[in-house]
């Protein structure tokens, strides 16, 4: 930032990095819907994980109370974030860790890159991390001549396939095992050419490939699921053990974490360690949970860094109706249950964060006016399945509606011709803000009946309404509205008192 510091905090800055979508959601969705293999893979995967989640959630009689506790803790964290961040910094630093504050993606990338260069290496191993996806760290490091090797199996598949993640927990969810085998055969050095698509053999091939990297890397880069303010402890929750390797073997560990990941103390983990595995992989407990506090002499990394990332989080926190989106613990339950995500896949959302949480978090981090991000809050039928599944009770449908309001309001006063939607809404405002007006409009119903013709169906409408008639008829309207029938023809069967007319 080149602004001269004036003694007053500047306005929150919006986030950048892999958060800006360059194509409106409906256009991207149209393209992805045509990928029948992806849709079949995704349908199978989301339905499997939905069933698993329901089973393990159903085992806990206090699941709803756990959700309440999770939401309350996160709300408390957001309300006290500045104090908790200072407390965390004090404790993390006291234990030998070094904290770096990054306002946006660019600052964070530069900090990480400089730290790696200090270690005289051009290779790093990575633990799966959404924060580093968000800031585009791998791409930045590549520009700096540094190779970053993803060690999570699914991230490895995506990286080897020169692809993008389509899910925050299962980045290669859009690929089936035959496609994975083909990627390994084409891209993995020294792979057995007779590799089949048996999951065990695929995992063994990946393990052999990765083991070499773990043993040689001097620097690891990770994210973090939680940070405990009262002790300065960081936590990573994972399934494969690759994270544990990265967190313990290299001399230098650089963690990139959003500032919203804080929890007050370790007793809060009791709630979140029940909520997270059940909501994400549908497991009672995840296989590996690593916690580390600063530097321990002679044991594990001796250079421990943490990059605290804002990248639009302060801006999101300032939004009274949207801030609970920061409570997200990245479990992915919302996308697994979402009927829109199930059909379009994650790539249609354009951002690091797809699915229902992405449709609110992305525009909250970047601001509603950023490129095509304003199309994201409309990528939902508002069915509410996401809200029911969210372990920290983020009311995603309500925030989607709030952000639609922000989008419409942000376009008011622009010197442009009103859109068809604007005109439709203005007309409907007239009709729907008075019973008299609606009654007048309903006098025209017989005209609609006439337009429907002999088969009593309206099959084609113009303009934006053509979206409806591309796959749906509209029945012929009735000759008489209910209102009119009530006024003229209703004879109460039971009561005899004066009716309101």
């Amino acid at each position: 930032m080149s602004n001269v510091f004036m003694g007053m905090p500047s306005l929150p800055v919006f986030g950048d990095g892999n958060l800006h979508i360059d194509e409106p959601f409906p256009a991207a969705a149209h393209r992805e819907l045509g990928n029948t293999q992806m849709r079949a893979n995704l349908r199978h995967a989301t339905h499997t994980i939905r069933d698993k989640r329901l089973k393990v959630v159903g085992e806990l009689p206090d699941w709803e109370e756990l959700r309440d506790a999770g939401a309350a803790t996160k709300n408390q964290v957001m309300a006290n974030l500045p104090a908790l961040l200072e407390e965390f910094e004090k404790n993390f630093t006291a234990r030998g860790g070094i904290i770096h504050w990054a306002r946006d993606a660019d600052e964070a990338n530069r900090i990480v890159s400089d730290l790696i260069k200090e270690q005289d290496t051009d290779e790093v191993v990575k633990v799966k991390s959404m924060a580093t996806q968000e800031i585009g760290l791998n791409e930045y490091l590549e520009e700096q001549g540094i190779s970053a090797f993803e060690t999570d199996l699914a991230e490895l598949i995506v990286q080897l396939g020169h692809d993008k993640p389509s899910h925050i927990l299962v980045p290669a969810i859009h690929k089936n095992r035959t496609e994975v085998r083909d990627i390994f055969l084409a891209e993995m050095p020294n792979v057995d050419p007779n590799l089949t698509d048996e999951p065990r053999l695929l995992a063994m091939a990946a393990r052999e490939h990765l083991r070499r990297k773990f043993l040689s890397a001097k620097v690891a880069v990770s994210g973090a699921n939680f940070a405990l303010a009262d002790s300065g402890t960081l936590a990573v929750v994972e399934s494969e053990g690759n994270g544990r390797m990265c967190l313990t073997l290299p001399e230098t560990l650089i963690t990139v974490m959003g500032i919203e990941k804080l929890l007050p103390g370790k007793e809060d983990l009791e709630v979140f360690m029940q909520l997270l595995p059940r909501s994400s992989t549908g497991e009672r407990m995840n296989p590996y949970t690593s916690l580390w506090t600063g530097v321990t002499e002679g044991d594990g990394p001796q250079n421990v860094h943490l990059v605290m990332l804002d990248n639009g989080r302060t801006a999101a926190l300032a939004d009274k109706y949207g801030r609970t989106a920061l409570n997200c613990i990245r479990c992915s339950a919302c996308m697994n249950v979402c009927p829109v995500y199930e059909r379009t896949g994650g790539h249609a959302y354009g951002s690091t964060y797809p699915g229902p949480i992405g449709a609110i978090l992305t525009p909250l981090l970047t601001g509603i006016k950023s490129e095509e991000n304003s199309s994201l809050p409309y990528a939902s039928s508002l069915c509410g399945a996401c809200y029911d599944a969210c372990p920290v009770k983020i009311n995603i449908p309500e925030i989607l509606v709030h952000l639609r309001g922000e989008d419409v309001d942000s376009k008011r006063g622009e010197n442009k011709l009103p859109s068809q939607m604007d005109l439709m809404m203005k007309g409907a405002q007239w009709a729907f803000s008075s019973g008299k007006n609606l009654g007048l409009l309903e006098k025209g119903l017989p005209l609609g009946k006439l337009a429907a013709g002999r088969d009593k169906k309206i099959k084609r409408l113009p303009g934006i309404a053509a979206g409806w008639t591309q796959s749906r008829d509209i029945p012929a309207p009735p000759a008489q509205s209910f209102r009119d029938w009530w006024k003229k023809d209703h004879r109460p069967a039971a009561a005899t008192t004066e009716q309101e007319k």
Binding site: A29, P339, M421, A431, N437, A494
Partner: protein, 265 residues
């Protein structure tokens, strides 16, 4: 009991038979139905499309139409519109900075019930055949609309009422809890995704072999019915109020036209 009917705009204009069926059921139980004439729409289309300024007068009109103390409870044959009245109206009023409207909207919301909520929770109807004389000799499947299911937590109220209708056969709908893809203006703004969701819903409905799919929201039923009609399916849709209103002597036809008996025309 004096019950104020909120017909909802879509039923008023497009499916008057659903409102007439609602009146018939309530009058059959001996209650007095009134129709506050100032009513128009809950404003949900405006709110869900982000047009908050335009929604405000629509919401204010609904509150004004239903805040008279001349009735005991209000009822609407729609889970979605009732969810809007109960949950969205106070939020919108707050957002627009109208604290007085927020309080009035909360009062109206507290008195407003979705039809199955009113029948089961307030009026104690658990057996439609016995208590309403409902009879409907068709094979039916049932789609629970999202807002009734998730915002109002209606559970199986509508389905249980349907199952208690005389002569009916109710077939379970596979993946019943999945959205039909309507979502108001979502069906136009994201027509491709909406159509893909509808396609799956229609397939599941047809797999049951039912002659029609019932539900509690005219908008979702119009969406599903519109899709079935486009593919020339023999299956159609019908609001559960019309099935409850159907009796042996005054049956409802499966094309949705109500046979109006005495008291009507």
């Amino acid at each position: 009991m004096k019950i104020a009917l909120f017909a909802t705009c879509i039923v008023d204009a497009m499916y008057p038979q659903t409102a007439r069926a609602t009146v018939k059921i309530l009058e059959r139980l001996g209650h007095e139905v009134i129709f506050p004439s100032g009513q128009a729409c809950c404003g949900q289309m405006h709110i869900n499309s982000g047009y908050m300024d335009e929604a405000l007068p629509v919401v204010a009109n609904h509150v004004a139409a239903f805040e008279a103390k001349t009735y005991d409870v209000a009822v609407a044959p729609s889970g979605s519109c009732v969810a809007s009245v109960k949950h969205q109206h106070p939020v919108l009023a707050e957002r627009c900075g109208d604290a007085a409207l927020k309080a009035r909207a909360e009062a109206v919301g507290a008195k407003t019930y979705e039809l199955s909520q009113l029948l089961v929770d307030v009026l104690g109807v658990t057996n439609a055949a016995e208590q309403l004389g409902s009879h409907f000799a068709h094979k039916v499947t049932y789609h629970p609309s999202c807002h009734g299911m998730r915002s109002l937590h209606l559970g199986d109220r509508q389905l249980d009422l349907l199952k208690s209708v005389g002569g009916i056969e109710v077939a379970d709908l596979p993946e019943a809890d999945q959205c039909c893809g309507f979502g108001g203006t979502f069906s136009m703004k994201n027509a491709d995704v909406s159509s893909a969701m509808l396609e799956d819903k229609a397939k599941n409905i047809e797999s049951t072999g039912a002659s029609l799919c019932s539900g509690g929201d005219a908008s979702c039923l119009m969406h599903i019915g519109g899709g079935l009609s486009r593919t020339k399916s023999n299956t159609t849709t019908l609001h559960f109020a019309e099935i409850l209103a159907s009796t042996i002597t005054e049956p409802v036809s499966v094309t949705g036209e109500v046979f109006v008996g005495k008291g009507g025309k």
